[in-house]
């Protein structure tokens, strides 16, 4: 029997997954529709919650809903009526709003810092809610198991009515954002300007809180009150990695919210005992990690690659400059600007000047070879090509102009100027160069001014290498 069970269960799971994926069940369709609508709304509201820096206020609001649910349930038991969901949700909305308002009041009148006020309200309201639930359990009238699903969320409990509510809230939120986009923007960006222009900042803040309460109420059943805030904050924070534009941020955040809910709800249905709130939040977190690494505007991967590329470009210039100065110290520079040189430079000398390892110098050299700026011989000798010569000359000119500027006008010591110029020369823009040329070289014709300090490779008595490369 055991063996038989083990054999058939994966098949069963497969067929269940198949049924889910193809939306064959009415229930699946309802759950998906409900959660996707919720996810989109959360994503939209979350953007403004995040930009107004009120993310934790949303958390306090959602935790405060539990008291309302418990009290309304107690009341329905006392008057002997059946609990109906809509009444419970109204209770949740009222106590959630009260929670949010008490944070603002505590901060304003009791002169308590906002983070402390949030901590107090969140824990007191939630604590009262938990206590109330345990009292209800003792009374044991009716089935309170349904109430606990408000804490962690139970996606299968979603009904057609919930979908209608979610759709209505989405429409209202979308209309508010479309109509009052500019008002919400100025509220979030510059509250002092908003006040000075006479906008009712308090009213706009209340509108934002009302939207948060609405989303929280819709999310209670599917996500649960502990995690419903995550569905607002995570998609919005993820969207910021993809764009610098508020409109696009709203769209992306809505999409990510909807997607997290769809995938998370499916996952919760497949792994039967997993609370949907958890799977949805984990999916959102997955999208966050994806955005964090791959996001086109701020993703860490692109930033890393960009910086790595920049560093490499600087190393190319350093090597070219080292070659040029090597030739210069041997008085072996080509006479005319366009002429190329046949002089060979030992890679070891370049590595020594730059304090690079031999291996690293060879690597940079071979990459420059591939770009046609130098020719790297098999024995490790380098030769600048005509193009390489031009670039080397430019790099040296920039470096020396900056170095001289540092010494003449920023009062840097000789060695210091060299190092500082080394660092700064890569940030030079054409206009800086023009100015430097004016102020330091005073428009003197030679493209490359002489080095203001003895070159490190200027060792007059240095003999040719014993192994005789020439």
């Amino acid at each position: 029997m055991m063996a038989f069970d083990a054999g058939v269960s994966p098949l069963l799971a497969d067929s269940q997954l198949w049924r889910l994926m193809t939306l064959q069940d009415y229930n699946t369709r309802v759950v998906l529709a409900g959660t996707i609508l919720l996810g989109i709304t959360s994503g939209l509201v979350g953007v403004y919650l995040l930009l107004r820096k009120r993310a934790l206020l949303g958390d306090a609001i959602s935790h405060a809903t539990l008291v309302g649910i418990g009290l309304v349930y107690l009341w329905t038991v006392m008057i002997g009526q059946d609990k109906t969901l809509s009444v419970l949700l109204i209770g949740a909305a009222i106590s959630g709003t009260l929670g949010g308002v008490s944070v603002l009041l505590l901060r304003h009148f009791a002169n308590i810092r906002e983070d402390a006020a949030l901590g107090i309200v969140l824990s007191v309201f939630f604590g009262a809610g938990v206590a109330l639930l345990s009292v209800l359990q003792k009374i044991k009238k009716g089935n309170i198991a349904g109430l606990e699903s408000f804490i962690y969320g139970k996606v299968v409990a979603i009904t057609g009515d919930d979908v209608a509510l979610a759709a209505a809230v989405l429409v209202v939120v979308a209309v508010i954002i479309a109509a009052l986009g500019k008002e919400l923007k100025i509220l979030c960006f510059d509250i002092e300007l908003a006040r000075s222009q006479g906008w009712p900042v308090m009213l706009l803040d209340c509108l934002l809180i009302a939207m948060v309460v609405a989303v929280t109420i819709v999310g209670l059943k599917a996500i649960g009150l502990i995690m419903v805030i995550a569905l607002q904050v995570i998609p919005a924070a993820s969207a910021r990695f993809w764009t610098h534009d508020l409109k696009r941020m709203l769209i992306i955040s809505g999409l990510l919210g909807g997607l997290s809910c769809a995938v998370g709800a499916m996952a919760s249905a497949v792994f039967a005992d997993m609370p949907s709130g958890a799977t949805i939040v984990l999916c959102g977190c997955g999208f966050f990690l994806l955005s964090f690494t791959l996001g086109t505007e701020r993703g860490v991967l692109w930033t890393y690659l960009h910086q790595k590329n920049l560093r490499r470009q600087q190393e190319y210039l350093h090597l070219l400059r080292a070659c040029y100065e090597q030739l210069e110290s041997r008085r072996a520079l080509p006479t005319s600007a366009k002429a190329s040189t046949t002089e060979l430079i030992a890679i070891g000398d370049v590595a020594e000047v730059r304090a690079w390892s031999h291996r690293f110098a060879s690597k940079i050299a071979s990459e420059l070879d591939a770009r046609g700026l130098i020719v790297l011989r098999r024995n490790g000798d380098l030769q600048l090509t005509a193009r390489g010569m031009v670039q080397a000359e430019e790099a040296v000119r920039e470096h020396r102009l900056l170095e001289m500027y540092m010494m003449e006008q920023a009062e840097a010591d000789v060695g210091q100027a060299d190092r500082e110029a080394d660092y700064l020369e890569h940030g030079l823009l054409p206009e800086h160069l023009a100015e430097l040329g004016e102020s330091v070289a005073r428009g003197t014709p030679p493209p490359v001014p002489p080095s203001p300090h003895p070159l490190k490779l200027d060792k007059p008595d240095k003999p040719d290498k014993p192994d005789g490369k020439n």
Binding site: L51, K53, N111, A179, L180, G181, K182, E183, K185, I186, C188, F189, D190, E192, L193, R195, S196, Q197, G198, W199, R240, T243, H244, D245, L246, M249
Partner: protein, 263 residues
């Protein structure tokens, strides 16, 4: 002390203004008239209530007593004629917006509820950015602007408000020399077109050069009037009350002023 009622025909008239934060007085009995078309420096030590004075003028902090009239009206009535420029650090420059978006916010006040910024507003915003010499940065993300460019964006935003009275809170704080020059020339331009500009300022050295009218403030009003009459060693000593490092600075400022007047 019984003061005359606030004057009605001048940009800014303040009578017996007292403001306190949590009972600690920040402004005491300030009575002040700013004449039309002046470029006014508002100077005093840290904590003297300079920013608070600006905020009290636009009704952002509650006053305990006193009266403020702007062109003879309350702030609520004269709002359209006033442009307030907050300190640059009061906003989060990481906000998802371009320089143009920020400048457009200056037009929100006259647009009113629901109406969006259209072509007229956009053109005005571009023009204001051009005046601040940063039109090429219109599409730039504000987090990628330098400090000076951010300050110019703020001033461009004030420009599109078409105001007659400008209240600027430390526009010179932490900006580069080029931006400082641009701001000064903007203020002089505004003055020639008949605007009145009140600027919270910290650098005593530049006071005689930048401002033709001066208000010295240290919780109480120490002095107000033409710079040449008010910017005296005695007044500065009263304003900065015995802070030695500051006295040194003032001595330096006085020296410079004397040198300048000889030229």
């Amino acid at each position: 002390m019984q003061s005359s009622p606030p004057a009605s025909d001048i940009p800014l008239s303040i009578r017996d203004l007292t403001v306190a934060y949590h009972r600690k007085p920040v402004l005491w009995n300030v009575t002040l008239d700013i004449p039309d078309g002046k470029l006014v420096g508002l100077v005093g030590p840290n904590g003297a209530g300079k920013s608070t004075l600006l905020k009290a003028i636009i009704g952002m902090v509650p006053k305990i007593s006193g009266a403020i009239r702007i062109f003879g009206q309350s702030y609520a009535e004269s709002r359209a004629q006033v442009a307030y420029v907050p300190q640059r650090e009061t906003v989060d420059w990481d906000f998802p917006a371009t320089a143009l978006d920020v400048v457009l916010m200056g037009t929100y006040g006259r647009l009113g509820w629901f109406r969006r910024a259209g072509k007229v507003e956009r053109d005005a915003a571009h023009e204001a950015l051009a005046k601040m010499e940063i039109e090429h940065l219109a599409g730039r993300q504000i987090s990628q602007l330098s400090g000076g460019q951010q300050q110019r964006t703020f001033l461009a935003r004030a420009l599109v408000q078409n105001a007659k009275l400008f209240l600027m809170d430390e526009p010179f704080a932490a900006v580069d020399a080029a931006t400082e020059r641009a701001i000064v020339s903007l203020m002089k331009d505004l003055q020639t077109t008949g605007s009145t500009i009140v600027v919270v300022h910290h650098d005593l050295h530049t006071v005689p050069e930048y401002f033709d009218h001066l208000v010295l403030l240290n919780t109480r009003l120490v002095g107000a009037g033409p710079t040449s009459a008010v910017f005296t060693e005695r007044n500065l000593q009263k304003t900065y009350g015995g802070k030695l490092t500051l006295l040194e600075e003032i001595g330096e400022a006085m020296k410079r002023r004397d040198q300048r007047s000889k030229l």
